[in-house]
């Protein structure tokens, strides 16, 4: 439980951080809140020779509204997400999800950027970002680009991010006022990653679903956007038969690992139960 040797860097601008990253390639890793990478280093599952602490980069902080989108700086902590009035009014599902992550001590340090860049299927933010159709602003030696959350995750710990790139912000289109939402997470205890979790955002009009988005956490080696389930649900009144079909479609895309949380079959079924419950709660919350 003791990490190997590494050099510590503390840049104060994005450009500086990218330059250090670029000069060390695979041997360097950004350090955000440290609550994913430091445990991995202590287990010597990760052994970066250079750690680039982003906490001195002021540009990576803050939550603001830009046009029809909310932009959250990568170094915004989960605690700050919970405390934000702007998010509470425009994107309340972020608060609901953040409160289900780890515990207050970890949330004071853990960041949204670290959570989405980490690539661990156990992280809760990636599926939520897919559900919200967010994209990540990424800066590298060749400048800035934006990658959709739904295209970002390739396999466990493999993402579309190049080793010399930084996630600088998360951009989330603001869902319509009156949308219904829910994040349902089954876990064994406080501080545990999900056995299975489901994020749902939907809008209703005249008792039927006019738009719907569903994503699942920790039931595959990436977060899972449940496109087919969304199609089945859109236009429906969320009658029992439709919900059953959507749940079956969502369960069908899961490929969970068997671990201490339970065998794969259980986790698939729990993804279904979480989706069912999230749908019910989201529908209850939606206006229209």
């Amino acid at each position: 439980m003791i990490p190997g040797e590494f050099t510590y860097h503390r840049p104060s601008t994005v450009a500086e951080a990218v330059a250090i990253l670029a000069s060390h390639g695979d041997e360097a890793r950004p350090l955000a809140g440290g609550h994913s990478i430091i445990p991995m280093m202590k287990l010597r599952m990760a052994a970066p020779e250079h750690l680039i602490d982003l906490s001195g980069v002021a540009d990576l902080k803050g939550i603001r509204e830009e046009g029809g989108a909310i932009v959250i700086g990568a170094m915004t902590t989960q605690h700050e997400l919970i405390a934000s009035d702007l998010l509470a009014s425009k994107l309340p599902i972020i608060r609901e999800t953040s409160l289900l992550i780890a515990d207050p001590q970890i949330r004071y340090l853990g960041t949204i950027g670290g959570n989405v860049a980490n690539g661990d299927p156990g992280n809760d933010m990636p599926a939520l970002m897919q559900c919200l159709n967010a994209s990540y602003k990424v800066v590298g030696p060749n400048g800035e680009r934006e990658i959709a959350a739904r295209d970002f995750y390739e396999a466990a710990y493999f993402t579309a991010l190049a080793p010399e790139e930084l996630v600088t912000a998360v951009v989330i289109p603001v869902p319509p006022a009156g949308h219904g939402f829910a994040y349902e997470k089954l876990k064994r205890k406080v501080g545990d990653y999900a056995t299975a979790a489901a994020a749902v955002v939907l809008t209703m009009s005249g008792g039927s679903v006019s738009s719907c988005s569903v994503a699942l956490t920790n039931v595959g080696d990436t977060p899972l956007y449940a496109a087919e389930a969304c199609d089945i649900l859109t236009g429906s009144t969320l009658d029992a038969d439709t919900v059953n079909r959507a749940v079956a479609a969502a369960e069908a895309i899961t490929r969970p690992a068997s671990d201490g949380r339970g065998p794969a079959e259980y986790r698939t079924k729990m993804a279904g139960v979480m989706l069912r419950r999230a749908l019910a709660r989201a529908a209850e919350r939606a206006n229209g």
Binding site: G4, D103, R188, P263, Y266
Partner: protein
């Protein structure tokens, strides 16, 4: 008497003696982060040791090459079994009569077994060096399932025992067999089963778990080569035993070994035994002449140092149609891992498992335990219980529920019908124990009335109907546990550890100004001895607890004792304390008589001093007597006021309790919620009700964890799964249910203050209550027995198998 003279009640209150909810004095330092633990110790020139461990569960070790590690600056040495052979320490004796490798000698028997010991200038270098030690392994077939351990073609785990048909506890019948231990009357029991109206039989497994104290095992060894003295600071629940064992193994004379246990952050049985880390640190210090520290990390602790349970119990009960039990038959398959390093009194290979008749009057019983080797870590310690008592309590309490179900009888009524009756005490059980005292019916009735048992059963019935009608997906379980513990090991006639009788001791020294220093052979790991021992002394000799200092853990100053585990401190050392205090009071009485110029027979004890019978104005307080004891003793009397007592208990004590758990289960997720948990404990005389409550809360929380998910799992390759707090279930305040506590008081007739010990009852008693609640919830769907642990996915699986998912 003027108004300023304190009343008798005021004087009594000032003592903060027995029965007082005195605040824990040790918490002043603990809550300020000022405890002094082993890892706080820093000595000049101190080195750090750390282990190279095996990635395989069963393999030959063909080569160890430490050359690259030795090239790393700051690495002092790398010890292997070959080096330890030079000092005859490659193997060490276990408490159970087996031998255990200190470092891998030719092979490894479980994953993470210690293979080499790296000694370096600091922890970071040591850990880097570990990665550089090259070990070659040749994998061997792995034996994980204890039920396959005695197959004819099972792999041979212990070539060192080849051809040995006799073990420490009798004949061995297979190369992986350790012992068979039999108690009771087999013939008589068979007859009971032949004549029975009803019988039940069930395999009831108690899974492998771990005591997981927050502070892991650790030590600092320091050999002074000039004086030839060895000092070892360590996380020792039994420091004197460690000293004796260290002397026997090292041949350093015992007076030149100083063993010191500073503050300990929880033990729960994990810190009773001796581990390779201790031996290697001592050898390393002898070799280098510098102090050597070894500190286990969490994964090492969970995966290698003493696990608990792994008992597979086949229980059978014979009964009459009216519910009267007539016989009990139990066979246990005990998985001990690669070495038999069980921490039991030496003559008890299965501990006191023969308490398995529980609280019930079985006319006859028979028990056989087979211990076997597997490719898992050694241990089998008493995780907050007296030796194997929690296994026994779980076995009988689960079996009684199964019998009730078969008879169609209410499980509370079945228990009431079969309880040992108050007039039967002292009660001789069919498996050989003499229960000291008990009043089970009163305790059970109080518990049932308080929790509203009959109404709960009505509610449960209504919920079951609603579930069948499809109106709810929630079911309700009521779990009952009525346990009898056996603690306070133990009488020298049947209890010893490696030949050392299991007495305990206390030394009390009253200073001239009437304050006290006292020392015991026990060692608190969180139990609050500094608080409660002072309370016993306060009541016995009338000096305020606040003026009494309690010190434990330094073998140079404390009298010899066997340490703290198995709820033995209060039954054994608690008695020694009372008796030492009474010696002081007796001497004080002679001094008071001299001071008051009366005969000592004219004096009577009154709270905090002696007074003349019929003339209470004439009195001497203990404070005055203490001064006189040193400075004006009666002619011919030795000055001073101190006493030592070594106590060899005449019997064990038998605390008991009635626990009820009300649980709601969501059948779609398997998630259970504890709606209520009521724990009534009878531990005899109550020394500090607040500490009792704290102990009960802690033990219930552990029991909750064990029953509902805490597990050391292995895959079929012998890989230990989830040995970190991410997976090993340690509940937080969020998961922990609300606890309701209650009590009755049935003092122990043979103990000087009537106290029985309580620290372990809540762990022993609660596991069956939780498990019975889960099993009870599914009873109406046809369930008989679901194995622990009852984590969500297994409960969901049970629901599925019983058809609850439609």
């Amino acid at each position: 008497m003027n108004d300023m003279t304190p009343t008798r009640e005021q004087r009594e209150a000032a003592l903060e003696g027995m029965g007082c909810k005195r605040k824990r004095v040790e918490d002043v330092r603990f809550t300020q982060g000022k405890g002094n633990y082993v890892d706080d110790l820093k000595l000049p020139g101190m080195l750090f040791g750390d282990f190279v461990r095996s990635p395989y569960a069963h393999a030959k070790v063909t080569k160890i090459d430490a050359s690259k590690a030795l090239e790393l600056p700051g690495v002092i040495a790398v010890l292997t079994a070959e080096d330890l052979k030079g000092v005859n320490l490659a193997w060490m004796p276990t408490l159970a009569g087996d031998v255990q490798m200190v470092l891998a000698d030719g092979k490894v028997l479980y994953q993470n077994q210690e293979v080499a010991f790296v000694i370096a200038e600091d922890r970071y270098i040591a850990d880097d060096a570990i990665q550089l030690v090259e070990v070659e392994y040749e994998e061997l077939p792995v034996l994980v399932d204890p039920f396959k351990s005695m197959d004819p073609d099972a792999p041979v785990l212990r070539p060192d025992l080849e051809g040995k048909t006799e073990g420490a506890h009798g004949p061995r019948k297979h190369h992986n067999h350790i012992f068979t231990w039999e108690v009771g009357d087999a013939e008589e029991t068979d007859r009971a089963f032949k004549d029975a109206d009803v019988t039940i039989k069930e395999l009831i497994s108690y899974h492998r778990t771990h005591p997981s104290p927050l502070e892991t095992c650790q030590c600092v060894a320091s050999m002074d080569k000039v004086t030839g003295e060895l000092t070892v600071w360590g996380t020792f629940q039994a420091p004197h035993v460690i000293r004796t064992v260290a002397s026997l193994l090292s041949t350093i004379p015992e007076h030149k070994i100083h063993v010191i246990a500073p503050d300990i952050g929880g033990g729960f049985g994990n810190k009773v035994g001796a581990y390779p880390g201790y031996i290697c640190s001592i050898v390393a210090s002898i070799v280098t002449g510098r102090p050597v520290k070894w500190v286990e990390d969490r994964m090492e602790n969970l995966s290698t140092t003493s696990f608990a349970r792994d008992y597979h119990m086949t229980a059978e009960i014979a009964a009459k149609n009216d519910g009267t039990v007539t016989g009990l038959k139990v066979h246990v398959l005990a998985d001990h891992g690669g070495f038999d390093a069980c921490a039991d009194p030496s003559k008890w290979p299965a501990g006191f498992f023969n308490i398995v008749t529980g609280s019930y009057d079985f006319p006859t019983a028979h028990l056989a335990v087979d211990g076997v080797y597997t490719n898992k870590a050694p241990g089998g310690v008493a995780y907050r219980c007296s030796f194997r008592v929690t296994e026994a309590a779980y076995c009988i309490e689960r079996a009684m529920d199964i019998l009730a179900q078969k008879l169609g009888m209410d499980p509370a009524d079945l228990r009431m019908k079969n309880f040992v009756k108050p007039e039967q005490f002292p009660y001789h059980s069919a498996l050989g124990w003499e229960y000291d005292s008990g009043d089970y019916h009163t305790a059970m009735q109080k518990a049932m009335d308080t929790i509203g048992y009959r109404q709960l059963r009505e509610e449960q019935k209504a919920k079951q109907e609603a579930f069948k009608r499809g109106e709810t997906r929630e079911i309700m379980g009521i779990g009952i546990s009525f346990f009898t513990e056996i603690v306070g090991a133990g009488p020298s006639k049947n209890c010893d550890i490696l030949g050392v009788a299991m007495f305990d001791s206390a030394e009390i020294r009253v200073h001239p100004t009437g304050s006290v220093i006292s020392r015991m052979g026990t060692k608190s790991q969180g139990q609050g001895h500094e608080t409660t021992w002072a309370q016993i002394i306060a009541t016995e000799i009338g000096i305020p607890a606040a003026d009494i200092m309690v010190e434990e853990g330094n073998t140079d100053t404390a009298p010899y004792g066997l340490g703290t585990y198995g709820s033995r401190s209060t039954p054994v050392a608690g008695a020694a304390i009372a008796l030492a205090a009474r010696k002081i009071r007796n001497k004080a009485q002679m001094i008071a008589a001299h001071m008051l110029e009366v005969s000592e027979y004219d004096l009577e004890w009154d709270v905090d001093g002696f007074q003349v019978k019929g003339n209470p104005e004439l009195r001497k307080s203990m404070k005055e007597i203490a001064w006189a004891a040193y400075n004006a003793p009666p002619p011919g009397m030795e000055p001073g006021l101190e006493a030592v007592s070594y106590y060899d208990p005449p019997n064990m004590t038998y605390p008991f309790g009635a626990y009820f758990c009300v649980m709601d289960i969501d059948v779609d997720t398997g998630v259970s919620k504890i709606r209520r948990f009521y724990a009534l404990d009878d531990c005899g005389t109550r020394i500090n009700p607040m500490i009792i409550e704290g102990q009960v809360h802690g033990g219930l929380t552990e029991g909750f964890a064990i029953a509902m998910g805490q597990e050391i799992r292995y895959d079929e390759m012998g890989n230990v799964m989830g040995a970190s707090f991410m997976d090993f279930f340690l509940p937080t305040a969020v998961e922990t249910p609300h606890w309701e506590t209650d009590y009755t008081v049935t003092p122990s007739p043979h103990h000087p203050i009537g106290a029985k010990g309580v620290g372990e009852s809540p762990n022993v008693g609660s596991v069956p209550a939780f498990s019975n609640a889960v099993n009870d919830a599914f009873g109406f769907l046809g369930n008989t027995h679901i194995q622990m642990p009852h984590d969500a996915w297994r409960v969901w699986q049970a629901a599925k198998d019983l058809g609850a998912h439609g």
